[in-house]
């Protein structure tokens, strides 16, 4: 079973944040008390109550203004390093039908720092009170009921797509071909190893440092579990 996948065409994303809000609505997650920190990105980062966040990145390249938008979320890796890094066998499970990587309450027994650092995309976050670790679960409940994930349903521009993995891969390859005509640096990100396939119009690192898996361990020191997880991590050079 090849399961499900997302295809996220970032050339079409307008950062309307419909997906960010739809996620909170379906998951009944509370709003956070935020302030404006001089950026439109808010909440400023993922948290135990913010499972997807749209990241804003602005810069001038060769005199031209760019504003890159990244609706960030768990990539649902085919071989999930976080699952390999877990100490319990059933705190992080992978749905055999959809391929969704799903965390449950037993993650409270895991070492949150280890789980977070095992993720090449820096996604999992711990609830400081309950110690339960959270992230996107692909709206596995919706998907099993034949519905689209809430984020995909809310997207007005066709950025977010969801379906059988083969269909999404072929959609992604087709979209890449089209995008390349306009954006020579367009590329698919880690498409062989994840279930959330991003199409970027420029180098992935310009969107966010964690858009693409970084094979070189520069962010922090490896823990034992992480080293283990690294064996299954997608080995793709950081091109940003």
């Amino acid at each position: 079973m090849s399961g499900k996948s997302f295809f996220v065409d970032l050339t079409k994303c307008t950062a309307c944040r419909g997906c960010q809000v739809a996620c909170k609505q379906w998951k009944k997650l509370p709003g956070e008390k935020t302030v404006n920190t001089g950026s439109h990105q808010n909440p400023p980062d993922l948290s135990a109550t913010t499972l997807r966040v749209v990241r804003f990145s602005e810069m001038e390249l060769e005199g031209k203004m760019h504003w890159f938008f990244l609706p960030d979320q768990c990539r649902h890796c085919l071989d999930a390093p976080c699952k390999s890094g877990a100490s319990l066998p059933d705190s992080i499970i992978q749905d055999p039908d959809t391929g969704a990587v799903v965390y449950n309450e037993k993650t409270a027994k895991e070492d949150a720092a280890t789980i977070r650092s095992s993720c090449p995309y820096d996604i999992p976050r711990v609830n400081k009170k309950t110690k339960v670790i959270s992230k996107c679960d692909m709206c596995n409940d919706r998907v099993k009921a034949g519905k689209l994930p809430a984020c995909v349903q809310s997207c007005p521009t066709g950025t977010m797509n969801f379906g059988d993995r083969d269909a999404m891969l072929s959609l992604a390859k087709k979209a890449l071909e089209t995008a390349k005509k306009k954006y020579p640096d367009a590329q698919l990100v880690d498409e062989e190893s994840v279930r959330v396939i991003f199409l970027t119009q420029n180098k992935p690192g310009l969107y966010a440092k964690t858009l693409m898996a970084d094979a070189t361990p520069t962010r922090r020191t490896y823990t034992r579990q992480e080293a283990l997880a690294a064996l299954t991590r997608p080995l793709r050079a950081f091109l940003g």
Partner: protein, 805 residues
């Protein structure tokens, strides 16, 4: 919109100017993106690089308020390089019309100006007429008094250099935009224009849109797929509210409000029936007496039309009753009571301190809204002393849109029926119910107590909107469509007679009559509810059935219903030549089949070439020369009334001489105390004055506070760092904001000087969030000055100072 949302996908060039469509109309980008995928060039012209700019192929910055320099420059570019679609311009616009001898233009002023009243005598701009009374024409366009030649001369001053100097747009960018738009002057190409409050909220607001209308007419982009002038309406039903005349100067269906100048119904009907002596001009407005009488009969169905007219309220001649004037008069104690219905003027209106202060002069206010707001609680707002305020405020909680049945009309003029979802919360009630019951109570009082002039109140037709106790949305929708009040016999094309029984719904507005035998609450909606049953409600249609030709241009004639007569692209006759052949054979809007027209519902009717296409214009032609507006027949450059320059190269007249102004309103012209241009705008995450969204945690966390976007250069000048708290002020007010220091805002070079601009969002107010962490209204800083045609306040360009808090 002349076109509709889906039609954006048919465009070859999308000019987004005066709008931030990606952020404020997110769904529009579904169709903008489709067009882009098929090779369309998307252009964004805006003072600030936004989420729309990020998706555009070309981004061109311009200083707020300088749009006519930009657009006038484009008109000049098109004319100088002869890039017009000539056949279209000659046959379908008034380019060939000869303008009368009294018209003149000198140094920023049109002829006919009366310095005492500050108004133009528009008769000075009339067309020259031939012996039959039709406009004289020169189809060679060579006559020096032709619209074409006068226009060419008028815009010859609109050089690239002048545009660069006033807009601060780099010359290369200007040229790139001009070339892209002008390239659609070919018969089979179309550019579209998406605009919103960035164009309207200026003292030259109407003329901004007129300038674009001229460009679209010169390029043959009106009436075609992927073309048009498309106003993106701010609220999903703002189109509907305008259609139903939620403005002082019109009554339903865009008929002028009766005034004291019309002593009788005859005077009024004469006024609303323009005359054209051109046999090919349908001059559709000549039918307006039928629509007016049918409207009066919908108000007073048992009265003779003349009696109904007498009962209608009348405007005093020459008096303005627009928003700014309303609050100016309120501040002078001119009236005692005020309904703030689904509105939040303490935040939404220009010059908030003036507006809020005006409310203290009221005896009572009724605030109808879903939450308490800055308006209902104005008496306990910043700087107010409740002990000194006499105003009594009544709060009537109303249902939200999903809690009630009814129709909304979207920007594309689609009347869409919606069903009730959840029941209204607690004691809140639908607006219709509140109005209906209020009217019954007022009538009871008039019945009991009499009153100065009870007849108009007592005779009003409420029975067609409810059962005497409860409001009925279907009955109301049927009344808006209209029905026969008497049995009427109508001769059919085959010579036979058909009788329409009294009580039968009218099929479409051509059947409305001026003898009192029909009623219709709004002629443009006649045809929307054509029978007794809910299944006859065309607004509720949800079928995707369409022909292949309709599919090719994304036209869904069986999905909801569009006014007028389900026409999806208005002025569509101009998409074909005089023989009925489509100019763009790859995306035709109309096709002549030898007997009739296929695809869309044709404007006008009859065989190809038999009538001029712009049927709502008296002479049937697109108006390059528009002699009906209050500030001139051609758009002319004037600075915003608050501005950073002392002069401009177009004339010696700095400001629009007819702008709406008030005594005592001090303006900032090159005032060193307030050196920076400030503009206001919206964000995706908040809605209108934020009343529905600021109490919503998921939206508030995304945009929690008032912010001020500024360039790195200005921040350095003022010692401001990203995320710092700053204050903005001028003589009208003061507010705080969080600084967003960004490369997306750049200083402008205007006439050789650096001009800084900042931008603040419109949505915040002190009432929500309740911990007061959000900030207060942007309008604390905006001036009480407005457009001379609409009265819309100039809230997009004014002057402020910015400091680190």
């Amino acid at each position: 919109m002349t076109n509709h949302w889906i039609d954006l996908k048919n465009s070859d060039c999308i000019l987004i100017m005066g709008s931030n469509a990606a952020e404020n109309h997110p769904i529009s980008f579904k169709w903008v993106t489709r067009a882009q995928e098929q090779g369309a060039v998307v252009i964004h012209v805006d003072p600030r690089f936004t989420r729309t700019s990020a998706k555009a192929d070309i981004y061109a910055p311009l200083r707020s308020g300088s749009d006519i320099a930009f657009l006038g420059g484009m008109i000049n570019y098109i004319l100088e390089n002869d890039l017009i679609f000539k056949e279209y311009v000659v046959n379908y616009t008034n380019a060939s019309f000869i303008v009368g001898d009294k018209y003149d233009f000198k140094d920023g002023m049109f002829s006919g100006f009366n310095a005492e009243t500050g108004k133009y005598d528009k008769s000075a701009w009339a067309f020259a007429l031939d012996e039959k009374g039709a406009p004289k024409r020169d189809n060679t366009l060579a006559d020096p008094r032709s619209v074409y030649q006068l226009m060419k001369k008028h815009y010859s001053r609109y050089s690239l250099k002048n545009a660069v100097d006033m807009c601060g747009t780099p010359e290369a960018k200007l040229l790139e935009v001009y070339k892209a738009v002008a390239s659609t002057g070919k018969p089979d190409k179309a550019a579209t224009s998406m605009y919103a409050m960035g164009w309207t909220q200026h003292t030259v607001g109407v003329q901004n849109i007129r300038a674009m209308s001229i460009i679209q007419s010169l390029l043959g982009n009106m009436g075609v797929a992927g073309g048009g002038i498309n106003a993106l309406r701010g609220e999903s039903n703002v189109q509907g509210s305008t259609d139903q005349a939620l403005l002082f100067h019109i009554i339903p269906g865009y008929l002028p409000t009766p005034s004291t100048a019309e002593k009788s119904i005859e005077d009024y009907l004469k006024k609303v029936a323009p005359v054209s002596k051109d046999p090919k001009s349908m001059n559709w407005k000549k039918n307006q007496p039928k629509y007016a009488v049918s409207l009066f009969k919908s108000f007073y169905k048992n009265a003779a039309p003349a009696q109904a007219f007498d009962w209608l309220p009348k405007l005093d001649v020459g008096r303005d009753y627009s928003w700014l004037t309303l609050f100016d008069q309120m501040g002078k104690g001119a009236f005692k009571g005020f309904f703030a219905w689904g509105m939040n003027p303490a935040v939404s209106g220009a010059n908030s301190n003036k507006t809020r202060e005006a409310m203290t002069k009221l005896d009572w206010m009724v605030n109808v809204n879903i939450y308490d707001n800055e308006t209902g609680s104005f008496w306990q707002g910043p700087g107010m002393d409740p002990k000194k305020i006499k105003t009594e405020v009544f709060m009537l909680p109303c249902a939200v849109s999903t809690e009630k049945e009814g129709s909304i009309s979207n920007s594309g003029r689609w009347m869409q029926w919606r069903y009730q979802g959840p029941k209204p919360l607690g004691d809140s009630r639908p607006d219709g119910e509140i109005i209906y019951e209020l009217a019954q109570k007022v009538r009871e009082l008039y019945k009991k107590q009499g009153g100065a002039f009870p007849e108009p109140v007592l005779n009003m037709n409420w029975e067609d909107m409810g059962n005497g106790h409860e409001f009925d949305v279907h009955k109301t929708a049927k009344l808006i469509n209209g029905y026969y009040l008497k049995d009427v016999s109508v001769k059919q094309p085959d010579g036979s007679m058909k009788v329409f029984k009294a009580g039968t719904q009218v099929a479409a507005f051509p059947a409305l009559m001026d003898d009192g035998s029909t009623c219709s609450g709004n002629w443009i909606y006649c045809g929307s509810y054509v029978g007794p049953d809910p299944k006859d409600n065309r607004a509720a249609k949800r079928s995707k059935e369409q022909t292949p030709a309709q599919a090719a241009i994304g036209l869904f004639p069986n999905w909801s219903w569009s006014w007028p007569v389900n026409r999806r692209i208005i002025y569509n006759r101009a998409s074909t030549d005089l023989t009925g052949k489509p100019y763009a054979p790859q995306k035709p809007v109309l096709a002549w089949n030898g007997k009739g027209w296929d695809i869309d519902v044709v404007d006008g009717g009859g065989a190809p070439g038999s009538v001029h296409p712009f049927i709502m214009q008296v002479h049937g032609m697109a108006a390059l020369f528009g002699p009906g507006l209050n500030d001139g027949p051609f758009p002319e450059y004037y600075e915003p009334l608050d501005c950073p320059v002392a002069s401009h190269p177009y004339s010696k007249v700095l400001h629009n001489p007819t702008a709406l102004k008030f005594k005592g309103e001090e303006l900032n012209v090159c005032d060193p105390r307030y050196p920076f241009v400030c503009t206001t705008y919206r964000v995706t995450e908040h809605w209108q004055t934020g009343l529905q969204t600021r109490p919503q945690p998921w939206l508030l966390e995304a945009e929690p506070q008032m912010f001020c976007e500024m360039s790195e250069e200005l921040a350095a000048l003022r010692g401001i760092k990203n995320g710092d708290k700053v204050t903005l002020d001028n003589q009208r007010g003061k507010l705080w904001a969080k600084a967003i220091v960004t490369k997306r805002f750049k200083p402008f070079i205007v006439q050789g000087n650096v001009v800084h601009e900042v931008g603040i969002p419109w949505h915040f107010g002190w009432r929500w969030p309740e911990d007061k962490s959000g900030g207060d209204a942007a309008n604390l800083l905006s001036p009480s000055v407005g457009d001379p045609n609409t009265g819309i306040p100039e809230t997009k360009a004014f002057m402020v100072n910015v400091r680190k808090a």
